[in-house]
């Protein structure tokens, strides 16, 4: 029997989709039974009280969670988000209900043994509720009490060998796609770079240093499986400089229907015979492909590496061999000023340990943003406010055609006086020789 009646929440379970309400109920029931005989360190009925307080919020149409708090673990300025409810008498199980962000393993690779260890620790020292994964990529553990924080942290770091993630005005937990571990599209080792940056920037990750949050994401190719182009202040997207490799025999096999397009991913429905013109060539965003007497031709100078043709015909087309990454800056979700996608800053950079060139770009940007950024201003907003040109100046990167999305619009680069022979001063008499008043 549930501790609180939740008629409004119950409605959320009635749709065709999996429901978080059902999940929480399941955990509440499991904690009530306690088959494993866990010595719960936070109230065993925490999950019941979460359901209770949520139901009350639906009745009142207002939240009963207070905003933020002073909790943390010693020496860390992030990773723990204090949550307190404003009805602790009614719902003592969630009087404290802090969130802990845990740095996810590279590429989100787990062994089941490792997952079990994590879950066991959270059953013992938390509510048992998890969010795998938050939109930044972290493992999010929802609901524990203040006295459990240090205990949890000790066991996480000493027994499981894992660290907290970032929150607040910090570098947020860097996140990467599965990359070379499993994916033939990967143009660099995303996990190596992500791990190196996580280790090198421990201070920025754990001790607030910035005007606001700052996210790094590492995608091995422009398919952007971790959505770096949409969500991270700095995205590192794999790309190549040379030509797409074409296997003309395999192209023929796709045309002839021997190979399934998209590796059979859309095979749930009959889309008819594969039509290379309609499904690949006409959809190329730069119109840089055509058929020439049964052969597929690509004008690689015009290709933007969008990945479409490669995704459709992976056995015929492969990424080039001169691989590296592009750096884009300024993406963010729409809290202030609307959503923004990343803007290209560095079109191509080789990915070579110890990644000094990449770190130089990162640190120049941080110095600028820490100095000039307003409170709660994301990098993307600062770029808009002071201009893309200003960012090029601070990073020492010269303007180049790849920075221009549309001429005269994005970005608008002005001459500086010292770049113009004679500066802004003109000999007016000389000028009047040619131009009337």
């Amino acid at each position: 029997m549930a501790k609180h009646a939740t008629p409004l929440l119950d409605q959320l379970e009635s749709g065709p989709w999996p429901s978080f309400v059902s999940d929480i109920k399941q955990e509440a029931a499991s904690r009530a039974k306690n088959v494993k005989g866990v010595d719960y360190q936070v109230p065993a009925d925490a999950c019941d009280d979460v359901l209770g307080i949520m139901e009350l919020s639906y009745v009142h149409k207002r939240t009963h969670w207070k905003h933020g708090g002073i909790v943390g673990v010693f020496g860390y300025g992030g990773g723990v988000i204090g949550r307190y409810c404003d009805q602790p008498e009614m719902f003592p199980g969630v009087a404290h209900f802090h969130t802990i962000r845990v740095n996810q393993p590279g590429g989100k690779f787990y062994s089941t043994a490792y997952l079990n260890q994590l879950c066991d620790l959270w059953e013992l020292r938390g509510s048992g509720l998890t969010n795998m994964h938050g939109s930044t990529g972290d493992i999010v553990f929802i609901g524990t009490t203040t006295p459990q924080l240090e205990e949890f942290f000790y066991e996480l770091t000493h027994k499981i060998g894992q660290d907290l993630g970032g929150s607040g005005s910090n570098l947020r937990t860097p996140s990467d796609c599965i990359g070379e571990a499993r994916c033939e599209y990967a143009c660099y080792d995303t996990q190596a770079l992500c791990y190196a940056m996580t280790q090198d920037y421990q201070d920025e990750l754990h001790r607030p240093a910035f005007p606001y949050k700052f996210k790094f994401k590492f995608d091995g190719c422009p398919n952007c499986c971790v959505a770096s182009i949409a969500r991270s202040d700095m995205s590192f997207i794999g790309t190549w400089r040379d030509d797409i490799r074409i296997d003309q025999e395999a192209v023929k096999a796709y045309i002839g229907g021997e190979f399934k397009p998209n590796a059979g991913a859309h095979a749930g429905r009959d889309w008819g015979k594969f039509d290379i013109q309609k499904e690949v060539i006409d959809l190329c965003p730069t119109k840089c492909m055509w058929m020439d007497g049964g052969k597929l031709v690509i004008d690689n100078r015009e290709c933007t590496r969008c990945m479409h043709c490669i995704n459709v015909m992976p056995r015929a087309l492969r990424i080039g061999e001169d691989k590296g990454l592009s750096i884009l800056v300024g993406a963010k979700a729409p809290i202030l000023d609307g959503a923004q996608m990343g803007s290209l800053l560095v079109p191509f950079i080789k990915v070579e340990e110890p990644y000094d060139e990449i770190k130089e770009v990162i640190e120049n940007i941080w110095d600028w943003w820490m100095e000039e950024g307003k409170n709660r201003e994301r990098l993307g907003e600062l770029i808009k406010r002071q201009g893309f040109q200003k960012m090029l100046e601070v990073t020492g990167i010269d303007p180049m055609p790849q920075h221009v999305q549309e001429p005269r619009h994005n970005p608008y680069i002005f001459w500086r006086e010292d770049e113009v022979p004679g500066g802004w001063q003109r000999d007016i008499k000389e000028f009047r020789k040619y131009h009337q008043r």
């Binding site: 933020g68 002073i70 020496g75 723990v80 204090g82 607040g168 005005s169 910035f210 949050k213 307003k374």
Partner: protein, 80 residues
């Protein structure tokens, strides 16, 4: 920089403001020590958190910093 003088200036600034405000953005501390590099001020503030003069407050998205134990949060959250 003279760390002790820097710490003193920060504590004085916070005490002076404590009637109206108990938590500040990191950037506000840069203005207390305008002649220092922002990285140095950041490191000093973090050091003062470590020695428990200051404490972080976080909404989850943003971090604010104040004197340890001040502000209504301390009492309301029943944090020692």
């Amino acid at each position: 920089m003279d760390k002790e003088a820097g710490k003193k200036a920060i504590v004085e600034f916070l005490q002076k403001k404590s009637k109206s405000k108990s938590k500040f953005y990191l950037k506000d501390f840069y203005e207390v020590l305008p002649n220092e590099k922002v990285r140095d001020v950041k490191n000093l503030v973090n050091e003062m958190v470590k020695d428990e003069t200051l404490e972080y407050w976080s909404s989850g998205s943003t971090t604010l910093i104040g004197l340890k134990g001040t502000g209504k949060q301390a009492g309301a959250e029943d944090e020692a």
